[in-house]
Symmetry: C2
Subunit: 244 residues, 2 copies
């Protein structure tokens, strides 16, 4: 707390200035929103769990060579990250139809997609995060062609890795949202994974029962969201340590 400077407060997290230049502190709140913040609420303990799950996943992604902003977890709700220039795209990877794609294209929820899809949405709450194509991204220069190639390649690798990770604990990874950002090194820049990976930004269904273990419990008033988030953490073996 003390006198550190708040840089941004979003729907689920707060960003503070970090201890060194080029770093930020990401603070995970319990606040939950849905439908572009028309629906608001709280999921008790969510921030603590998401901080841990995101740490776990970003650390393991780094092991397979995916560069991420994650430096280290600081405490229950905070992690130290590298400051990036956020690329204003929500990168959505879908294995199974659910949520907006089911509605938009009339595909029944739960139907396996012909193959894994990557979608890009402009990150702009005022516009309701509209779907954009690579044409739009190039035309408006939100990211370069090279950056998009890196992003797509990383998204596919992340999907395969995390599909395996969740499969091992009997969870199907239906879809998820990623954010990427640029870091600069002199005249050069490269793209790294930023933001978070948690049940807030993905769909996780129990392999055997198809029960939802993600923010859809909140979006759709299914109840049991605290337990669902905890169960994901428990299966991943997170939240077992002493210093939760």
């Amino acid at each position: 707390m003390s006198r550190r400077r708040q840089i941004y407060e979003g729907k689920a997290k707060i960003l503070y200035e970090g201890p060194e230049p080029g770093t930020l502190i990401q603070y995970f709140k319990d606040d939950a929103t849905a439908f572009n913040a028309q629906k608001k609420g709280t999921i008790n303990g969510k921030g603590v769990i998401n901080n841990r799950i995101s740490e776990y996943i970003f650390t393991r992604l780094a092991h397979i060579g995916i560069p991420t902003h994650f430096i280290r977890r600081l405490n229950m709700r905070e992690q130290l990250v590298r400051q990036v220039e956020i690329i204003p795209l929500e990168v959505v990877v879908r294995n199974v139809a659910a949520g907006s794609i089911s509605k938009r294209l009339g595909i029944e929820e739960g139907e396996m997609l012909p193959h894994t899809l990557i979608e890009y949405y402009l990150k702009d709450d005022a516009l309701g995060d509209p779907l954009v194509s690579e044409e739009h991204i190039a035309a408006f220069n939100w990211a370069s062609h090279e950056e998009m190639q890196d992003i797509a390649a990383m998204a596919i690798r992340i999907n395969d890795f995390l599909s395996g990770m969740f499969a091992a604990v009997d969870i199907r990874l239906i879809d998820f949202k990623l954010e990427f950002g640029r870091i600069y090194d002199g005249d050069f820049s490269r793209v790294i994974l930023a933001d978070e990976f948690s049940p807030d930004n993905c769909r996780l269904w129990d392999f055997n029962t198809n029960e939802k273990m993600d923010k859809d419990r909140f979006r759709r008033d299914l109840g049991g969201e605290e337990e669902a988030y905890q169960e994901v953490a428990r299966r991943l073996g997170v939240l077992s340590g002493e210093d939760n």
Copy 2:
């Protein structure tokens, strides 16, 4: 058993004619060999465990769209598979230096490779499975250029998926060997994953202790190979069912 025809007996498995044309039964033995069969032995119960682990992994790979020969497990030691025309290559994927690459290139065992490597070895016991390059493969027509592209793409996806799967149970996937084969559909053929995936054909190290949980225990006379194979199965949640 009864009067079905044995088609091939290899070092770790026996192939029998299957119940329908185009199928085979793969029987998993407890026999273990190393160093091109110069060293021979038995790992008690290995066949039962490998049958299960391979079933588990091939089933989950199919879920993410990797075509495999696996049809279904028949009993403790046997599985029904599609008969393929084996491509005579051992496809080795390496994340961390170990075994032959450490010796051949003088890289310390355990050193992370600059990036994931795919190597191809000619499957020929008499020649000691020599390393070959894509030049050799093209020149001698062991596989077409297109087939090699499919094989490389599948190998990379399999690596990412299984790295995640094992990471979730605190195991590092160091390296592994795959075999692919052709199935024909009229004039067309396509490549699918064949053979098996088990601790016989990969290196698995405990994330925390670096303890070896694979055939290196046998190769290097470390002891405890039965327990190691069982521990892999246990962590994956295989071998918990009633009908082991």
